[in-house]
Amino acid sequence: MAISAKEILSGDVQAAARLMRDLDDEIPSAHRTLKTLYRHTGRATILGITGAPGAGKSTLVDCVTGHLRQEGKTVGIVAIDPTSPFSGGAILGDRIRMQKHALDEGVFIKSLATRGHLGGLSKSTIDIVNVMDAMGKDVVIIETVGVGQDEVEIVKVAHTNLVLVVPGMGDDIQAMKAGILEIADIFVVNKSDREGADRTKQELETMVGMNTYREGEWAPPVMAAVAQTGAGVPELLSEVERHWKFISREENLERYRREKARVELMEILKKRLLEKAVDDLSRDGVLDLLLQDIARKIRDPYSIAEQVVDHKFGFHLTEGARKGKGNRRR
């Protein structure tokens, strides 16, 4: 039974939960509903939280949610855990640390498995964030799976990205250097009551300091917190608030929105194109034959991919789209 956009807009919890699951399972009717819902999105503020396993992401989400609720804001949480590559199953345990909100009607928690998707999010994350947005949640928090440093994907989805670091990971910071600056809008040294917290904070500050920020550019602050006790979280939230104000400036917001739109479209395209290619090739068992040929070195995968893109698919674009606003690429 398809879920209607109306049910979602009216805040029906079960309908929203079902739609989210349908999206996760990639049921076509769910995508149709999302088409209608899409224009109702864009109101929520999206907060991304990432960091290595054990950095305390869930605990921080729990704590931040508590503060947001006190301010009267409704919260949606998307928590992602890894799918086992062996069985395809997963244990999604992020709710355990969020029990304070288990009975709060103003908090909606959805646990997702990566289902083979890389980059710290699940394939459906953007879709589900959009549903929570359309439902009217004031803030949507995305907690990535704790895979490590290359979780850049979240950058493009969230307005503000927190990167959690725990003391005693000094060497890791060195290793993370390259990607981490691009991810973080705010660094959080969590568990800052632990030994070495000051050093970690200093290292991060030095790292940020070595970068030059132009006028009107955001330089990520480094905040200390203990998510377990809530120490430092109000200060952290006022930085988040400051960043929201920063990003809400006309020039920044437009850039963010375009970037997000780009990611959304590209992700959907990637998914759809691949699906279509694989579906078409699979239809008469062609795929198996091709794979066999590649394995036996009779053919090469490069030529086949080229043939698929050039010949097997016809892109019948309408005149309008073809003219379009163009120049999206560069």
Binding site: I91, D94, I96, R97, Q99
Partner: protein
């Protein structure tokens, strides 16, 4: 020199025998299994000889009972002097029901009491709390206020009987109630004896009946240590428990290592709180599991004694011999009981009890055969108690001290056990001690992995349980089950509400304020708690006061 030559010959002879006799035989009749291992999946060789103990100094490592490092026992005469204390853990329904069971057990020759509280008490909720619904009196006796404690020990002389109370997060409160009941009987705190489990670290690791976060919990514990060393000198202040760690699925080595590491954390906390080590360490005791693997378990108890003696003397520089001695209680392993063919559990328990006795335990609880189905019936608990009496009176195993000492296998296992456990302890030290390790989830994860590993071996049939994955029978002999009357909850709720109505509301309010103030200052909490329980302030109320000032602990999500 001569000795070394002799050992060399033994080794050569052993190798020759293997080559000439064992190998040809095995080529015709191979061994039953590809690999022989203990319940904890530690590999066991086919034969142990003096070669396995090469380079080991007997006097230094094994020695004599009653002498450092106490591998063979903490007393020089052991069971020839006094048998172990037969202490059956029990509690169910209302305080009246449990009091009646205590009188029965004492009349049947039990020599000490052991109280099981129901979960609401253990978690700091009164019986009329919403979270207590359905739990009242189910898994132990309901105690909300001093009134319940008075009924529980009615007619039991607290200067003559020692009592063990399995309580952790609210241990201070229940000890205070026990002291108050004793005072009502005219028995001063200096004269009462017994044990509170009071081991919060293993709650975080395995048993999960916690209320407050680790740091304030450790403070409550050091307050108890200080208070008891001054006022209740015969009380065992912490029963450092491996039992629940094992029940949660750990290996024997993990049980040993994590328990001793907990012990280290308590001693360190006491010292850090400014109490001289020899003032409180003699009142620390241990509590281990008796699982299914015969020699592994006995080796575990022996290794534990030796490790603790060394740690107390060398690491903490304790001078009093009593600080070095690891005294322990044992309970047979609840997880090994099967619901299938439950009468078989009597055999399991008898063997486990035997292990504990051969390992030199100071007190013993033998499980009843029906405990995997419900709390035990009177008949089942009597059989369990009789099992201990048969061990003590009929088998002759209590006639000689550490009768298996000197066995090549057992001495080797004891050494191995100590080595592996010390490896864990060093790792935990590197993390900054057990409190830190727990915050990181280290022991929790190790245990989950071990329990899943065992479960997989069981499913593959590489480990066997009679009646479960081998020798199953279609027809099960049903056994009688104890049921808890639904009326218990209603009556208990009514009683607690009546207690609240009848007490002096003004004094109660001021006691609760005093509790909060004390918890925010550095005052010892014990006297303040004692004053509160005497005014019939309930467990739930005291814990609520502390929840407000100390915060609460929630499941740290290890899976």
């Amino acid at each position: 020199m001569v000795d070394r030559n002799k050992k060399k010959t033994t080794r050569d002879r052993g190798k020759r025998l293997q080559r000439e006799r064992l190998k040809p035989r095995l080529s015709r009749n191979p061994e039953r299994l590809r690999r022989f291992s203990t319940v904890s999946d530690e590999e066991i060789s086919s034969l142990y000889t003096p070669a396995d103990l090469e380079g080991i100094d007997f006097l230094k490592e094994t020695g004599f009972p009653g002498e450092y490092p106490y591998t063979r026992g903490v007393h020089p005469s052991m069971y020839r002097g006094r048998l172990w204390t037969m202490r059956q853990f029990s509690g169910f329904g209302s305080a009246e029901d449990t009091n009646a069971r205590y009188h029965y057990l004492l009349s049947q020759g039990q020599t000490g009491l052991s109280v099981a509280f129901h979960f609401p008490t253990l978690m700091g909720y009164d019986s009329d709390h919403a979270r207590a619904r359905g739990e009242v009196g189910m898994c132990g006796v309901a105690v909300d206020s001093l009134r319940d404690m008075e009924i529980l020990f009615h007619g039991i002389p607290l200067d003559k009987i020692t009592t063990s109370m399995t309580t952790n997060a609210p241990a201070a409160i229940l000890l205070a109630m026990y002291i108050a009941v004793a005072e009502q009987q005219g028995v001063s705190p200096g004269k009462i004896g017994g044990t509170i489990q009071n081991d919060i670290l293993k709650e975080y690791i395995a048993r999960h009946s916690w209320i407050f976060p680790p740091d304030p919990s450790m403070r409550i514990i050091t307050d108890i240590l200080a208070f008891c060393s001054d006022h209740v000198p015969k009380w065992n202040t912490i029963s450092i428990s491996g039992y629940h760690i094992r029940e949660a699925g750990s290996t024997a080595v993990q049980e040993l290592a994590f328990t001793i590491a907990d012990g280290i954390a308590y001693v360190q906390a006491g010292i850090d709180a400014g109490i001289p080590v020899d003032k409180f360490a003699p009142r620390l005791s241990y509590f281990f599991n008796a699982h299914m693997d015969f020699f592994e378990e006995i080796a575990k108890y022996r290794a534990a004694r030796r490790m603790w003696a060394r740690i107390m003397r060398e690491r903490f520089r304790a001078k009093d011999e009593n600080s070095w001695k690891l005294r322990f209680h044992t309970q047979t392993a609840g997880v090994t009981l099967t619901a299938q063919q439950p009468v078989n559990n009597v055999a399991r328990v008898a063997l486990q009890g035997l292990m504990a006795v051969l390992g030199g335990t100071q007190s013993l609880h033998t499980n009843s055969m029906d405990e995997t189905l419900s709390l035990p019936t009177e008949q089942a608990v009597t059989i369990a108690l009789r099992t201990q009496q048969i061990l003590a009176e009929e088998t002759g195993v209590a006639n000689s001290i550490d009768p298996l000492g000197g066995s090549f296998l057992l001495e080797k296992l004891t050494n191995e056990m100590e080595k592996k456990a010390m490896h864990y302890i060093r790792k935990i030290d590197e993390m900054g001690g057990m409190v830190e390790a727990i915050k990181r989830g280290y022991p929790q994860r190790e245990i989950i992995d071990a329990s899943y590993h065992y479960q997989r071996l069981l499913e593959k049939g590489e480990k066997k349980i009679v009646g479960v994955n081998c020798y199953r029978s279609d027809e099960e002999l049903p056994i009688p089950i104890l049921t808890i009357d639904k009326e218990v909850e209603r009556k208990q709720v009514a009683r607690t509400r009546e207690v609240r109505r009848k007490r002096n509301a003004k004094r109660v309010a001021s006691r609760i304020d005093a509790l909060k103030d004390a918890s925010l200052s550095r005052t010892n909490l014990m006297p303040v708690i004692l004053e509160a329980v005497k005014e019939y302030v309930t467990i739930g109320e005291i814990c609520d006061a502390f929840r407000e000032t100390m915060g609460t602990y929630t499941d740290p999500a290890m899976y």
